[in-house]
Amino acid sequence: MEKIKLIDEKGKRIDGRGAKDLRPIKIKVHPLNRADGSCYIEWGTNKVIASVYGPKEAQPKHLQDPLRAIVRCNYDMASFSVDERKRPGPDRRSSEISKVIGEALENAVLTNLFPRTMIEVNIEVLEADAGTRCTGLTAAGIALADAGIPMRDIPAACAGGKVDGKIVVDLRKEEDQAGDADLPIAILPRTKEILLMQMDGDLSEKEFYELLDLLADACINISEMQKKALLDRYKQEEDVEEDKETEGKKTENKEIKKEEEE
């Protein structure tokens, strides 16, 4: 297979981004009704939805921790989220990702406030284009806040790597597959503590720390977007949401009526 050129002469990446540029990110807070908190993120072509239930009684009982809440994460990819159909249900990859995301979130949550309970985080990847664990973790952070779960800080995540010999953040699929290294991290933005870190590929010590710095900055940018999205939601919540409900009802009736008239 011929190697694709991923960085052009001007230092631009295949989608025109510079080394430190993130893909476009759209955040929707509380898109779901049943869940206690939820968040939908479009991050480049990634489409991920996260929901939070809890704190609720931990079941089965032997899982209960008498001193704190446990955080359990279910990361799942929809069968149609990738080119070749993925068999529905958990596999080894999703089990590992569920574990490392769950551990990262547990660090952020003030678990000692809710002994013997469980906080359940569900992440569903509807469309995947590299970086779904970071997208999912970022969405889960917002969903936890939306559910009113007290946290030290809202965690944010971003992956980076090495492409055509150059250190860049937020790899897209082509960069992930043809690149020389992949390093996803999650941090608490305020203290820059690292909650999640995985890596494979090949990075010199210098490159590794350079990339870590870029990723910390990227996470802080993402953190700003998270806060803005939550703030917008809080502002709109009381007035607008109620209007929507009523309007929804009206539109619905109108639509049905219109259909009837046709």
Binding site: L32, N33, R34, A35, S38, T45, K47, I49, A50, S51, Y53, K56, N74, D76, A78, S79, F80, S81, V82, D83, E84, R85, P88, G89, P90, E120, N122, E124, L126, E127, A128, G248, K249, T251, E252, E255, I256, E259, E260, E262
Partner: protein, 263 residues
């Protein structure tokens, strides 16, 4: 559908409302919630659709893979319909293999597609007895607020109507639309509780229902599929009353569907 417990107070309240001809969200007994159908939402899927039925939300995706036909129909493509009751969608849904409810849901939607004659399965054969297209319709329930049967059926049909055969991905030429023969039957679900019959049950109504009846009607208003559920019973007269409700709603829903998928 769900194991959520509705408090006795809410149950009494819904009974009382029903006696006065009312429902909790002010709908009439035969009235559907707002239906939104958004096709083509997933780029990686061969076909896809997001359907909202009130606050219930389902995302359906279609994928095609090459595989062997069944021994008893060597010239036909294969349909596999699966529904995932994601823990995301309800505190009552758990991880793990599908339970009875998810299986019934999948199979009813599957029969709805299969028996409708909507897909021209013979055109999905590449080499008789050897290689055919397998059509996977996967229904992901994102928000469960009642009447998954109708939401999933609509989502599955809409995803199929916008699906292509991915010849390109398999190096077999250019993509073409999935060959669909007819306008599909539309299914309407109803519940009965305390003697009252209602279309498009909300979750609370579902939870206290004695019996459920889903009827799918085609453009000629012929019966194309029926599924009765729950331990309650229906009299012949009740079946007739439900049929009338369905006949009127099917027409409206079909119009919404056609506009959305432009078929």
């Amino acid at each position: 559908m769900s194991k959520s417990v509705v408090s006795a107070i809410r149950k009494d309240y819904l009974y009382k409302l029903a006696q006065d001809g009312k429902r909790m969200d002010d709908r009439k007994f035969d009235e559907y919630r707002k239906i939104t159908i958004e096709p083509g939402v997933i780029t990686h899927a061969e076909g896809s659709a997001r359907v909202r039925l009130g606050k219930t939300e389902v995302c359906a995706g279609v994928k095609l893979e090459l595989g062997e036909p069944y021994a008893d129909s060597p010239n036909s493509g294969v349909l596999i319909t699966n529904s995932e009751l994601l823990p995301l969608a309800s505190p009552d849904f758990e991880r793990g293999p599908p339970r009875e409810n998810a299986i019934e849901l999948s199979r009813v939607v599957d029969r709805g597609i299969r028996e409708s004659g909507m897909i021209d399965f013979e055109k999905l054969c590449i080499e008789p007895g050897e290689k055919v297209w397998k059509v996977f319709v996967d229904l992901y329930v994102l928000d469960h607020n009642g009447n998954l049967f109708d939401a999933c059926a609509l989502a599955g049909l809409a995803a199929l109507c916008t699906a292509k055969i991915p010849f390109e991905r398999f190096g077999l030429g250019k993509d073409v639309p999935l060959p669909l023969a007819t306008s599909p039957p539309i299914s309407c679900t109803h519940v009965k509780f305390n003697g009252a019959l209602m279309a498009d049950p909300s979750l609370d109504e579902e939870l206290i229902a004695d019996a459920r009846l889903t009827i799918a009607l085609d453009e000629k208003s012929h019966f194309r599929a029926i599924q009765k559920g729950e331990a309650g019973s229906f009299t012949l007269d009740e079946v007739k009353e439900i049929t009338k409700m369905a006949q009127s709603n099917v027409e409206k829903i079909r119009n919404i569907f056609k506009k959305a998928v432009k078929r």
